[in-house]
Symmetry: C2
Subunit: 326 residues, 2 copies
């Protein structure tokens, strides 16, 4: 069987998402769900899920119920996170809680979470119960990650280990589950499914570290968001944690000055904090840890019992996620 | 096998709820869930679920996974509804979004919904998949009911059929699913499980109509909430819809005057609107429809293939729900 390109898989996924019927009553429950799914996005989770299924020689359609569940769940988290973060825009469109209101966003998010779980019923009997267990545990962990992320906002200091644990939960486990669910749907052994889980986990952590880097060092032409948004909002990213850890006393005080300065012009603050990141080699520290997780991901993939040629598409996707510009 | 009393079943359910481990990190995700479950309540849904299981001669523990899923889901809806309704108190305690904040309430509610669905994994293989399907469809319908309820707030007029459909979704289907899931767990036939579903649906509608009546005509000493809350908040209850339908032109104008009067003292408004309800026989109209749904519930129960003596506990519970004072 010829493996499909990520672009082919993306097209299959988008077609399946478009086929979901949302012209139902009440409108204010279902319209925001259609609106959210129509925003598009990279659909990384369902693409990875279908690729993991193909890795074991099965038609990607076998894992489609899991792929749709993952994408619907991910979109639900974006919808609720945007309320909690008071974000106004996503992919250049108004967030649901802005276009409608908070109540509509809460409730249509709740409905998306139910729909996500309901897609799993499309999986074959042999893997249904285990897939539900993996999906639910992952979903709870994503909630834990979001709560830690919010807790960190109110903390003066976040240590490296706590930050890495937060991004493991908030981003890593869902990518990990995407690969594992795809592998299980294809009838892979539990050992191989777990290796793919571990691969996805480290790819997810590396992916989030890349996000932290792009926010500061990305190309404004391709990044899609304003460069330096994390700096102006004092977000405790891996770069900030590294800079705080590595800076001498004077630089620490300078950094603290920028963090507590509410009068600073955004562009000045971004330039100054970026200069501190450069001076303390925070960028290199972040790249190093990212690379370590990427290598761990490759090691787990190497241990999977499947022909090397079959692994190529997933390995190419993983590499592209490490070298992305948006 | 001796059937247990609702009090016995309530004790078993509370013990099972207390046994769930919530001493986990992050605290701000798990503490609000423990707090919500510890508020107590009548636990009508899990009690009905276990009773439906016993009706078919099975140990109530067989249906416990479904019972816990139902109670956890119900508590999740209360938590999110309280944010949407800006309610401050529930069972005389601060709501989660008051005690913590909106974000904590949104996210711990999300986690409760996942946990609710995860309890279903405790069901036996033979009924797991169907139970998940029933549970998910019901959960979506409850969201639809909540959205209709919010939509009605912004509407000038709500017709009787739309109101009954809203309470069917918001209250009826979860009681219906409670009985059906309990019956299926006990190995009941699909016909009998559906009869119990229909019984629960009509009990649920009658239950909600009783709620509307108690809010106006309940005994302040036992009701638990302030009498007339629906009137002061202009809530479109069945009583209001009936009064608007049955009133002559002058009374309609008088009623409209009270609905648009933002200066009226609550006690005066409650007394005046209650007088209109009395004059238009809205109370009797509500009692009549409630009684009709109760009778339909009894008819569905009568058709269930189980010994009459086994049906007695559920019939007594249904009767007590129609004659409650809180």
């Amino acid at each position: 069987m010829q493996q499909q390109t990520p672009q082919d898989l993306l097209a299959i996924i988008n077609k399946a998402l478009e086929a979901i019927q949302f012209d139902k009553q009440p409108n204010r429950l279902y319209d925001p769900i259609r609106y959210t799914l129509d925003m598009g996005g990279k659909r990384i989770r369902p693409v990875m899920c279908l690729m993991a299924c193909e890795l074991f020689g099965k038609e990607p359609a076998t894992a489609m119920p899991a792929a749709l569940a993952l994408e619907m769940f991910h979109n639900f988290t974006l919808l609720h996170d945007d309320i909690m973060d008071k974000a106004e825009k996503r992919r250049n469109r108004d967030c649901v809680h802005i276009k409608w209101n908070d109540n509509v966003a809460i409730l249509s998010g709740d409905a998306m979470q139910i729909m996500a779980m309901d897609f799993l019923r499309g999986l074959p009997d042999g893997v249904f119960r285990e897939s539900v267990a993996i999906f639910n545990r992952t979903a709870i962990e994503v909630c834990e990650g979001q709560q830690y992320d919010m807790d960190f906002e109110a903390q003066d200091h976040v240590c490296e280990a706590d930050y890495l644990n937060m991004i493991r939960l908030k981003t890593g486990v869902l990518l990990a589950a995407s690969l594992k669910l795809g592998a299980l749907a294809a009838g892979a052994s539990h050992e191989d499914a777990q290796r793919l889980y571990d691969m996805g986990l480290h790819i997810g952590i590396a992916f989030q570290l890349q996000d932290d880097l792009l926010d500061v060092y990305g190309d404004p032409a391709t990044f899609g968001k304003n460069i330096g948004g994390d700096i102006t909002s004092n977000k405790k990213t891996y770069l900030l944690i590294m800079a705080q850890k590595r800076a001498d006393q004077a630089t620490c005080a300078e950094l603290e000055g920028w963090l507590t300065n509410t009068q600073a012009k955004p562009c000045e603050k971004i330039a100054a904090v970026t200069a501190i990141y450069n001076r303390t080699n925070a960028k290199e520290a972040c790249q190093k840890v990212m690379e370590e997780h990427y290598q761990l991901a490759l090691e787990h993939m190497a241990a999977v019992s499947a022909p090397a040629t079959r692994k190529e598409p997933l390995l190419r996707l993983a590499a592209s996620l490490m070298n992305r510009n948006n």
